[in-house]
């Protein structure tokens, strides 16, 4: 399966979806001009991946910032992962947040409440 590798910019996140190297990650900042268009290939990729996933899928979110329009699309990504988990696949979401960013931590907690998928909160330090 062809990986997706999108370099991050100051308004779009870095995205790596690479089955072969077992890397599934969305990181950085997300406030794209056209949020639906940006996330469309990502959702499509996960859809396809879910047909024949690895034995275990660990999906990492390490976002510094996302706007409310992106928050809706991030939920769509999580809902795809929830579908996989519902299908009996082994899926884990890791939500990374800066240890001084309560809002980002809370955002992770809320997503964990909304979707039924194994969810881990991971804090990291910033200097």
């Amino acid at each position: 399966m062809e990986p997706i590798k999108i370099k991050g910019t100051d308004d779009t996140p870095q995205v790596i979806l690479d089955k072969e190297n077992t890397v599934f990650e969305i990181s950085g900042r997300s406030l794209p001009e056209d949020v639906a268009a940006f996330f469309e290939p990502i959702l499509k990729w996960i859809n396809e991946y879910s047909q024949d996933p690895l034995g275990k899928t660990v999906f990492n979110f390490k976002l510094e910032y996302f706007n409310t329009a992106s928050s809706k699309l991030i939920l769509d990504v999580l809902l795809k992962l929830e579908e996989m988990a519902d299908d009996g696949k082994d899926v884990l979401v890791r939500w990374h947040y800066p240890d001084d960013d309560e809002d980002m931590q809370e955002a992770g907690e809320e997503y964990a409440d909304i979707v039924e998928v194994p969810f881990e909160q991971v804090s990291y330090s910033v200097d």
Partner: protein
């Protein structure tokens, strides 16, 4: 311009400058709010704030509020009268900073038939406590659809949740069809 016009215009600039200083306005803009403008204003404010002693949580909140406010204008502002419709809405955008707080102010034209819905929504958001806002946010993110313009209907809720401050707003009548919608969001500079 006649000589008299020019002198008046010089006076206007100086008075405008004094007014801005007086009200601690650090950024004021009127025009189309494009994605490029949103990016430019947020990065400008970020680099200005980087020199301040404000807590990083305060800086993050200011950034959040700015983006949501700018995108509100670009997605929802209506053209005045019969001006040709452009892709991005236009309006005014202002940031001021006092000892205690940042204020982000926006102003844009809305049709009078939207006022009722908009004020009910804002009054409702202002009436909710932390838990109520959390519930409303969750409900809206689950049930809301992304509008054709890419809005998630979460901007105002998010601003109040992040800042913990109520939104101040008003509608000033332009004519029988349209009004000028003014919204002030406040971010406290004291760490909560």
């Amino acid at each position: 311009m006649t000589g008299k016009d020019k002198i008046e215009s010089l006076e206007f600039v100086y008075n405008f400058y004094l007014k801005m200083k007086d009200s601690n306005v650090s950024l004021a803009y009127e025009g189309e709010i494009t994605h490029q403008i949103t990016k430019a204003f947020t990065s400008l404010t970020e680099s200005n704030m980087a020199n301040d002693e404000d807590y990083s949580s305060v800086q993050r909140k200011v950034f959040h509020v700015m983006v949501e406010c700018l995108q509100n204008i670009s997605k929802h502002a209506e053209p005045i009268g019969n001006l040709p419709v452009s892709k991005d809405g236009r309006g005014i955008f202002m940031i001021s900073k006092s000892e205690d707080e940042y204020n982000v102010t926006t102003g844009n034209v809305v049709s009078n038939d939207k006022i009722e819905e908009l004020s009910e929504m804002l009054d409702n958001i202002n009436s909710l406590d932390k838990m109520g806002l959390k519930q409303l946010y969750k409900q809206q993110i689950r049930e809301g659809r992304l509008s054709p313009k890419g809005g998630a209907g979460l901007g105002f809720i998010d601003i109040v949740r992040k800042t913990g401050e109520k939104l101040v707003f008003d509608f000033l009548s332009i004519n029988e069809d349209q009004s000028f919608f003014i919204l002030i969001s406040t971010i406290s500079r004291k760490q909560r």
